[in-house]
Symmetry: C2
Subunit: 193 residues, 2 copies
Amino acid sequence: MRLIAFGDSMVAGAGDPDHLGWVGRALADRREITLYNLGVRRETSADIAARWPPEAKVRLTDVEPMRIVFSFGANDCHLEGGHPRVAPAESLKNAHAMLTGAGRLCPVLLVGPPPVVDPGVCARLEGLNEHLRTLAARLKVPFIDVLRPLMADGLFQAEAAAWDGAHPGAGGYQRMADLVAAHPAWRAFTGLD
Amino acid sequence: MRLIAFGDSMVAGAGDPDHLGWVGRALADRREITLYNLGVRRETSADIAARWPPEAKVRLTDVEPMRIVFSFGANDCHLEGGHPRVAPAESLKNAHAMLTGAGRLCPVLLVGPPPVVDPGVCARLEGLNEHLRTLAARLKVPFIDVLRPLMADGLFQAEAAAWDGAHPGAGGYQRMADLVAAHPAWRAFTGLD
């Protein structure tokens, strides 16, 4: 199996001294899965929606099953000039385009946005997270919610606060990976169950 | 610093149960470096030469120093219909285009191709490796040779033979990472010395 992960710096694993991020950690010991980690720092849903088709195209193959995971949101919710970088309605339009477009190619899964330290961003993230959950349900795309558990996770929060306010270290990424890897949707998606 | 690694399945770390590959392992504990691993399985120098510019473009930033690493070769040297998938002169043309093109954007480094188990492919790889070394020297691009050491590495060879003839496991990738990480060119390139 080959799994492509599209998203932002959290997908890329920025700040992880082990260069795994939550995606690499959630695939630990799954040697039969080739991971293409295509997280890019600072990217919004609009950036990812524009970038994913050509980057997926050169990685798709018919010699093995393919999977595409998306995860984004925090950069949409950051303010720029007093407004979110991407308005909520636009975030959902972008998410809809990505999930339906990629869903035509192979099974797709959406991991909801992890939190940041800034409470204003987190308040907007909670709204976006709920909208993404509803959209995914409507599109019958599996959705893994990590926002509330990680907002309540002292290690994740402490590591992010100590680094740059957004990215945890090995421990926080492992906590997020544990949430994802234990989720029935992830297990089914990656062929475990 | 942000480091982009372009290459083939060995760059992607195919077969590594830890999903690090030699690139992730060579950057262990370098939390300040964000890794964008853009290895793609089966890609030749021609594929990578066509793909790297747009993929680099969306990842380049001026908020941090950038680095680009290339590593390829084995797929060029595999036979298809009795001929190498990419002829040696074409491989060198592609390498020249990548090293000079990327070199206009940021510091660039070339890691020579690691071996595969097939002795015919390895014989062609030895020729290509020497040509790449010469080209890199001419372009003043640092070059790290891993071919001979890994051909002589029993663990690397045994793991690759036991898996699919090309990709080692955690141990073999670690051996390659150790060669790269200890090289003065890598240390200077990643800002250690």
